[in-house]
Amino acid sequence: MADKKKRKASTKKKKSDKIEVVFFKSDTCAFCPRAEEVIRETLENFGSEVFELKVVNVSENPDAAEEFGIFALPTVMIGGISVTGIPEPDLLMKMVLGAKVMTKKKDGSK
């Protein structure tokens, strides 16, 4: 029983450690499919336990784009920063690594 509890707690911690990557696209955006490809390929290098990719289709969910003030597509948001257009893998990697460092810093200061 105690073991079960312990396992549950560690899973929870792992989940909160994941870096959230939000990709905004639309049905009519010609650049979005390529941008999504680049993002998925780049993130694969980190392994799925490091990040969580959320895809927001603005055509279906315009409220989400409005909430974050994002109106140029494609846009990828990691932490509090974003890139618009088809991103270069190098920049994406830097963003993910930057977000990882920030998460560690936050954890360390707790």
């Binding site: 905004f24 639309s26 009519t28 955006c29 010609a30 650049f31 390529r34 941008a35 603005v58 055509s59 315009p62 409220d63 784009a65 409005e66 909430e67 974050f68 003030g69 994002i70 109106f71 140029a72 597509l73 494609p74 846009t75 948001m77 932490g79 509090g80 920063i81 974003s82 890139v83 618009t84 257009g85 088809i86 991103p87 270069e88 920049l91 963003m95």
Partner: protein, 248 residues
């Protein structure tokens, strides 16, 4: 009903309709240009407010610059309660101002994007409140937000076409930089619109300035070719059609 007769949209600016054959042509894109402090935002917001209160035409105000709480506060000084209209779903205020806390900081921009997000956001509100008026205040801020001006120019054309195709009359505001002679930072603002209105606030002596308004172009309309006096009164903007401005 003759299809060739132009239906007019009342501007809600006292005196202005008399200069333009009764109002803006319905479904057109109108540019309101002027230097800082000439009253562009007030005129555009008054167009939305009066549309909802006097002509039963719901409107969407998209703010790219000033946060909504400041717009509401400033318009209340003219007796225009935007908050109330928003609650009654007669208007929608779309906050895309840079002051939003959750907006991420953009660290990179590649010249491979479009404004389909902005289009989806605006059309969502148009549909929700059945709007027939849309204001985008101000185009100029985009020049500072994005580097790729060629893309923006093309995207503005597409955006204006989509909004007007949805049955809305679109007002765009554009700030003329202090030392420039054009109509905005993109050099295409005048082509983008079928109507152009320019606001002035010129110094006429060491101690005073004079506000005025000029209808530079309005396709399909006979309009005044003179520069008329305009004032910002306690009830908003008012134009004096019979009064020619001494200032310009």
């Amino acid at each position: 009903m003759n299809d060739l007769i132009i239906e007019r949209v009342k501007t809600g600016i006292p005196g202005l309709d008399e200069l333009i054959e009764g109002g803006f042509p319905r479904g057109d894109t109108i540019l309101i240009a002027g230097k800082a402090g000439t009253g562009k935002s007030i005129l555009a917001t008054q167009f939305i407010y009066k549309g909802a209160t006097e002509y039963n035409e719901p409107g969407v105000l998209v703010t790219l610059e000033e946060p909504p709480h400041l717009i509401k506060r400033n318009m209340l000084r003219f007796g225009m309660d935007l908050e109330k209209l928003e609650k009654e779903k007669k208007i929608a205020i779309v906050d895309l101002s840079p002051s939003k806390e959750v907006t991420p900081v953009t660290i990179g921009e590649y010249p491979s994007f479009d404004l389909s997000g902005l289009e989806a956001i605006i059309l969502n509100h148009v549909k929700k409140i059945k709007a027939t008026r849309v204001v985008l205040d101000t185009l100029s801020i985009m020049a500072y937000k994005f580097k790729s001006r060629d893309i923006l120019r093309e995207e503005f054309f597409k955006l204006a076409a989509t909004i007007t195709r949805a049955g809305c009359t679109l007002l765009l505001t554009s700030e003329i930089p202090a030392q420039e002679q054009g109509l905005g930072v993109f050099d295409i603002e005048a082509f983008l619109a079928s109507g152009v209105i320019v606001l002035y606030n010129e110094k006429i002596s060491d101690t005073s300035r004079s506000r005025s308004i000029e209808v530079l172009k309005l396709r399909g309309s006979k309009h005044s070719s003179r520069i008329h006096s305009m004032r910002i009164t306690d009830e908003g903007i008012r134009v004096w059609p019979g009064e020619i401005s001494p200032g310009v």
